[in-house]
Amino acid sequence: MTVREVVEALSLRVVAGQSGLEQQITGGYASDLLSCVMAGAKTGNLWVTMQGHPNVVAVASLLDLAAVVVTEGSPIEPISLQRAEEKGIPLLTTEQGTFCTVAKLAQVGIHETR
């Protein structure tokens, strides 16, 4: 499944990184603690978090993640948008919470990769 397909299935808003929308998603990971993401997320994963901090983009880029979903309409700093745009990492937003978002992702067939 591509990032674009997930965007459509979950009606997410693409706020940055349009150029990465055709990336294939290998699985999902959810956490707000960057170190946990560093340890747990796998290449090509979709990361669900409520952090809108620029380091979210740094972590996503270091791990070659497919995209980041920022939940609960959390504010995203302008610098995060700029970095995501530069690195081509789609930043997706939703008003829904992490739990609900992950549940929906599981429904469309995105699971945690072990």
Partner: protein
């Protein structure tokens, strides 16, 4: 309409590169020039000969330097079927011509080709003068060339970087990269590790290994940003068989090194935790992804963290040593 078409795009990462190029390439880079043209007074029988000998399937019609129409092989076939080879081009041409601009991106031609049934588009300059003609074949050829060029540049860069060790004659060559890490600068967090990662990729590093180096470098970098009072430095020494990262700072130092290595133990203040840092997993992550980790710290003096990662070698369980210098 646009969305519908995009959905049909095959979803591979290769397509993204092409999509990008379609936007980057300009008409003038891919168009055919000079353009073969005919005048309105050309007979269809002459047009047939021009098309046959020049191997073209359509041509703009010019009168006194101005484009007044376009005539295609389809128009010619119709004329032939009707036995009207004596007719003038002006009688059989299409007077309304779809055109594109030389400075426009190729995507505009792609759009026009898919919206209309035309097979070629005359290219005009800023003054409306005919400067070229573009067909689907031109676009494909231009794209292939552009991809080839990029691929070639990539290869050259990779080649240069990856052969650095072979080109330098010494008993033991290593490449030293130094990064200054300011404290509390969360905006720039991850910059050094991102650069380290990029360098290793350029040198042809194995993606799995580069990813591990990226993770440990990031955690070490963030530790300096989060915890130090004056910032610190990261030195990355790259050798053909291993990467050594040494992160040093001058304070405040770690009170209890054993405790610092316990999962979840953190001294980070609340505001830092709210940013998603300081979960007490940093050092643990480093020890998990490194092949060797040596931590030395003395309160009030500073901390030295040395990390070793073997390149292109089989992974062994990590070796961790810690020392609280007094």
């Amino acid at each position: 309409m646009d969305e519908g078409r995009e959905n049909k795009m095959p979803s591979t990462s290769g397509i993204t590169k092409i999509q990008e190029l379609v936007y980057e390439l300009k008409m003038k880079q891919v168009m055919t020039t000079p353009v073969i043209t005919v005048s309105p007074e050309t007979r269809m029988s002459e047009l047939k000969e021009i098309m046959r000998t020049r191997r073209i399937s359509g041509t703009p019609v010019l009168k006194g330097g101005q484009m007044v129409g376009i005539i295609s092989i389809e128009d010619l076939i119709k004329a032939l079927v009707e036995g009207r080879t004596d007719a003038l081009v002006s009688e059989r041409m299409t007077p309304e011509v779809l055109t594109v601009q030389a400075e426009e991106s190729v995507i505009e031609a792609v759009k026009k080709f898919s919206e209309s049934r035309v097979g070629r588009l005359p290219v005009l300059d800023d003054n409306g003068h005919l400067v070229g003609i573009i067909t689907g074949v031109d676009i494909t050829r231009g794209l292939l060339q552009a991809i080839g060029l990029e691929y070639h540049e990539d290869e050259i860069q990779r080649y240069r970087a990856s052969h650095i060790f072979e080109d330098i004659a010494s008993d033991d060559t290593s490449l030293l990269l130094r990064y200054k890490i300011p404290c509390q600068d969360f905006q720039r967090g991850g910059e050094a590790s991102s650069k380290i990662r990029k360098t290793l990729y350029r040198m042809g590093g194995n993606p799995q290994t580069v990813r591990r180096v990226g993770i440990v470098a990031y955690e070490a970098e963030m530790n300096i940003i989060i915890h130090t009072t004056d910032g610190g430095e990261m030195v990355v020494e790259i050798q053909p068989n291993r990467v050594r990262i040494v992160a040093t700072d001058h304070g405040p130092g770690i009170e209890d090194v054993d405790q610092a290595l316990e999962p979840g133990f953190s001294t980070a203040p609340e505001w830092i935790r709210e940013l998603g840092f300081g979960a007490g997993m940093g050092l643990l992550n480093i020890s998990k992804f490194a092949d060797e980790m040596h931590l030395e710290s003395s309160p009030g003096v500073g901390t030295r963290l040395e990390i070793l990662i073997w390149l292109n070698a089989h992974r062994k369980p990590p070796e961790v040593s810690k020392k609280a210098a007094q």
